[in-house]
Amino acid sequence: MTPASHTRRPPGSLPQQAGQTQRTAARPPARRGQGWWLAWIVLAAALVALGSVVGLWYLPFAAGVLLGAATRLGRLGLAVSLAGLLLLGPVAWGVVLGAESLSGAAVGATARAAAAIAGLPALAALTIVATLLIALVQAAAGLWLGRALTPRSAWRPRRAGKEPEVPGMP
């Protein structure tokens, strides 16, 4: 893959190899653009955020699994995957924390107390970063699992050569 071919390729799609053709019959009924996928991711992130409010701490993982499957099925690129990872994990939880703080909750003081009680330096940032990291780790673990368990879609063309992998994705 050359830089030129990379820039010509629509963002988020898998690169095509030279001479490769796609059979119309194998295409999914409705291929969606990346905006469509991002909209779903944002919706999922909102659900993750709402779920956290009622204590569903594992939703970033569940959403990550779906994201992983989607990256397989929708042939989503690295950028969308990373964006999804951030949206479904730290952003979703961070928005809730931010909203709590804006509504007057003592987020900073509580974070500081939690860090101190845990035996860490009494920095609010530590607890907040730990919270966002937990969301991120969950989403990443889910993404990996979703991709690993999702079979390649039937419409994907069979190729003689090795299928290119999304850099950084298992």
Binding site: V54, L56, A105, T110, A113, A122, V137, A141, W144, L149
Partner: protein
């Protein structure tokens, strides 16, 4: 094929990682909490962030209330509770206290019930093991079993527990658990009356469980009996300051109100077939028992106690209370000052509250976890408390034999031990089993070296709550003193003043007595001849009422003179009397004393020992050549009045000199006789200035400067002045190295500080060290080392200005809330630190108070659903 294998391996690995992540976040991993639950926004720790950190005016529905209650909060967070019934009053007290202090209450009950390791893992396992051996929980259960639910104490305990549980139900519904609970994932169980009694037991342990007999055993083993009793005598060698010199008559000890809850009941079942143990079987019989075995046992028990959280051992005692009356006070009635000294913590041991109902109208300091006000004032009387300091812990060398496991020899026969089993839950690992054996004396604390049991007064159920409830209601000295008859452990001096101008001190509680010839300051034979025979009759316990001096003072000193006909402890138990001496000096022969006079005295930092010894030091220095720094230091001392103020440079010289002087005299003996300081640093380390040695030093310096103690064993002869000069030289040298060459810059505050640690152990949640005056011998005492965290936990002054009228003020180092995020967490520290006071009166829930910014909770029973 390879690609397929890779895919399967990838999927398997992803599954494993995902499962591990979910498991770790959902269930925790070892000591790491379940962070998924703990840190999910909206719940976990973040839910508590949304909780109200102070108090907002609102109406709350509480199940169990029998009438409406209003709770008015001052801007500083002090709650005033007014209820239509007594039971509603205590229910509301439980609810309000839990709202602001539940973590503290939960930690206290966990401490007493041996459940701290469930929160914090193995580091606190030793504490749990010690407490379960000692038996606070067993005693609390026995106390509750002996309490009628319809009695005054029973009603208060049940109502209080209901209030706490109403709060727990609220929290469970809102998910706003305290941060500590969320981080550990350990949901607190419902509060019960036994939990309140366990909290009472924990305080009893803090004030009453002593280890001086173990120290005596270690000293006898190293110094030998003669030197031990010469240097650590039963009666101190210096003049004491008893609050009542007597005379007292001897009357036979009376039985305790209840039997020891931690002793094996002796039944008819005895193993009579066994012969009396042969000498070779004995593990101790009488004072001639192998000292090595006794020392080993002492070391084992003391090692077990080192696992206790800070402040749970009774090491320091610096409480003050005094009262003046008649011509001694302005207005001619009575005035009382009290400042109980405890381990300072954030949150404080105290929760200030005002309670009003048909049966109560009392304001003061309460203990989170226990109903009622422990010290304060009502409409007619006021009182404060100091620890009586009598020996309440007696150790027994049990006679056992390898051929008779689980038995002990007592009163001529082999007896079966009673055995209790526990499984101690430990966070992050499997539960740890514990077996506790009980003898007729109490629990066996160790079988290392010498099977040793303890007979501790705190193990005897005592109806302290009934006593304090009646004290809260007392309207005269007669009813006040009568209320104290049911007080058991810890023995306390109750200082008293009333609106009729009467003052008093009553040393209420258990004073265990042993037969003549026993040596209760040492571990005693457990075969029956040295058993506790009872306690001093209430009429003969130390007490004073309206003395001609119009002044009563209690400051942990020996309360009675040497002619007192009962044994109550040794020189190791009591304060040397520098504080009561200073109080006497400041107040004696004064008239028309005011609240300001009492307040000034509560902040007095004059060291009475310095006043006594510095002139001797100056005399010793008069005839020798001094370096410029030494001359400057001597000049500082010569111009000094003994005040350990933060800015005093002389105070630094004195403090360093005293430590070096005491070490200079005794360290050669300690080294030569191999005193095992490491086994009990708090009691044996010379730098901690053991009280009997200070008294010895004071007396010898003043009247026996050639005492043989000044000459090191095997060394050349020395006198007090010679050792003083050496100590002074060493002190100046060390201070020069540490603080610079100019003695005038050696401010005491550069060496000495105070701090208030958090009960969580986190330094970030503590009140940081700040330069401070005082030392362990000053009225404003600072004990526990050069960074003192032991001191006046509450200061109160109540002046009676008429019948039913008092001017009352108080201050304490802390805040009403235990939540470090709350503005009420440490908002009262600055007032206390500056030596100021706040009014100690109820905040009315009136419209005017609301307009002034007071928040009011209106508590009502739940609405009945219409059918």
């Amino acid at each position: 094929m390879a690609a397929r294998v890779r895919r399967y391996a990838n999927a398997a690995l992803a599954l494993i990682v995902a499962a591990a992540v979910l498991f770790a976040l959902g269930a925790g991993l070892g000591a790491i909490p379940a962070l998924g639950h703990a840190l999910v926004p909206g719940r976990g720790i973040w839910a508590s962030a949304a909780a109200n950190l102070t108090a907002a005016t609102q109406t709350l529905r509480l199940p169990g209330l029998s009438g409406p209650v209003s709770v008015a909060f001052s801007s500083a967070g002090v709650a005033s509770i007014a209820a239509a019934t007594d039971s509603s009053l205590f229910l509301a007290q439980g609810f309000v206290t839990a709202s602001f202090r539940f973590d503290q209450m939960d930690l206290e009950r966990r401490l007493g019930e041996g459940r701290l390791a469930q929160l914090d893992g193995r580091p606190l396992l030793a504490s749990d093991q010690f407490e379960l051996r000692l038996g606070l929980w067993r005693t609390a259960r026995a106390e509750w079993a002996a309490t009628s639910p319809s009695s005054q104490a029973g009603q208060a305990l049940i109502s209080y527990a209901r209030g706490v549980n109403d709060w727990l139900a609220d929290v469970a519904a809102s998910h706003q658990w305290p941060v500590l609970d969320e981080l550990t994932g350990a949901r607190p169980s419902r509060w019960t009356p036994v939990d309140s009694l366990v909290v009472q037991e924990v305080l009893t342990q803090q004030l009453d469980f002593g280890t001086s007999p173990l120290d005596y055993a270690l000293l006898e083993r190293s110094l030998g009996p003669a030197l031990t009793m010469a240097w650590f005598p039963v009666q101190a060698v210096t003049a004491q300051q008893p609050y009542d010199p007597g005379p007292y008559r001897y009357r036979q000890p009376v039985p305790f109100a209840a039997s020891n809850a931690n002793a094996a009941r002796v039944t008819a079942h005895v193993t009579a077939a066994g012969p009396r143990p042969a000498a070779s079987q004995r593990t101790g019989a009488g004072r001639g028992a192998p000292a090595a075995a006794a020392a080993k046992a002492a070391a084992s028990i003391l090692a077990g106690m080192r696992g206790l959280p800070a402040g749970e051992q009774h090491i320091h005692f610096d409480s003050n209370a005094w009262a003046a009356s008649g011509p001694a006070v302005q207005g001619g009635r009575a005035m009382l000052a009290g400042d109980p000294h405890l381990q300072l913590t954030l949150p404080s041991d105290w929760y200030q509250v005002s309670l009003r109902s048909p049966g109560y109208d009392v304001t003061g300091a309460s203990l989170p976890g226990i109903p009622a006000v422990v010290l304060g004032h009502n409409a007619h009387v006021t009182w404060s408390i100091t620890d009586a300091q009598n020996q309440s812990t007696l150790f027994y060398r049990e006679r056992t034999a390898r051929s008779r496991p689980d038995e002990y020899f007592w009163q001529g026969a082999w007896r079966p031990m009673r055995t209790v089993y526990y499984d101690i839950p430990v966070r992050g690992s499997a539960a740890v089993p514990l077996t506790v054996d009980l003898t007729a004396h109490g629990p066996i604390m160790t079988m290392s070296g010498q099977t040793t049991s303890v007979d501790w007064m705190g193990d005897i159920p005592s109806d302290d709550l009934t006593a304090i409830l009646r004290v809260d209601q007392a309207a005269s000295f007669t009813s006040f003193r009568s209320a104290l008859k049911s007080w058991g452990a810890p023995a306390e001096n109750f200082a008293y003043a009333d609106d009729q101008g009467n003052i008093a001190i009553v040393g209420a509680g258990y004073y265990p007595q042993t037969p003549a010839g026993a040596a209760p300051w040492l571990p005693m034979s457990g075969t029956g001849g040295s058993d506790v025979t009872g306690t001093i009759p209430f009429g003969e316990v130390p007490q004073v009422y309206d003395p001609p001096s119009h002044l009563v003072i209690t400051a942990n000193q020996r309360p009675v003179g040497p002619s007192y006909p009962y044994y109550i402890g040794t020189s190791m138990n009591f304060d040397p009397g520098y504080r009561p001496g200073e109080i006497q000096r400041a107040l004696g022969h004064r008239t028309a004393l005011t609240v300001a006079d009492f307040a000034r005295l509560q902040h007095n930092v004059t060291d009475g020992l310095a006043v006594a010894l510095v002139p001797r030091l100056l005399s010793a220095l008069a005839t020798v050549r001094l370096s410029p720094a030494q001359r400057a230091a001597r000049t500082l001392l010569a111009r000094w009045n003994g005040a350990m103020t933060e800015r005093s440079a002389a105070a630094s010289v004195w403090s360093k000199f005293l430590t070096d002087y005491l070490s200079g005299v005794f360290e050669p003996w300690w080294s030569f006789r191999k005193v095992p300081v490491h086994l009990d640093p708090a009691g044996l380390r010379l730098s901690n200035l053991p009280i009997p040695l200070l008294e010895d030093l004071q007396r010898w310096t003043s009247s026996a400067p050639q005492d043989k103690a000044f000459s090191p064993p095997g060394g050349s002869a020395r006198s007090a002045p010679a050792v003083m000069r050496a100590a002074f030289t060493q002190a100046v040298s060390q201070l020069s190295r540490r603080l610079g060459p100019d003695p005038s810059a050696w401010r005491w505050g550069r060496l000495h500080s105070r701090s208030i640690p958090s009960i969580t152990g986190s330094s970030a949640l503590s009140y940081r060290p700040y330069p401070a005056g005082g030392d362990p011998r000053t009225v404003d005492a600072a004990d526990g080392g050069m960074n003192s965290s032991f001191g006046p936990s509450w200061r109160m002054i109540v002046a009676w200005t008429g019948t039913g009228r008092a001017a009352a003020e108080s201050a304490y180092p802390g805040g009403q809330s235990g939540d470090s995020a709350s503005p009420w967490y440490q908002n009262l520290v600055s007032t206390w630190r500056k030596g100021q006071y706040l009014s100690l009166s109820a905040t009315a829930a009136s419209p005017a108070a609301r307009r002034a910014g007071a928040a009011v909770w209106t508590l009502r029973p739940p609405e009945r659903s219409s059918t």
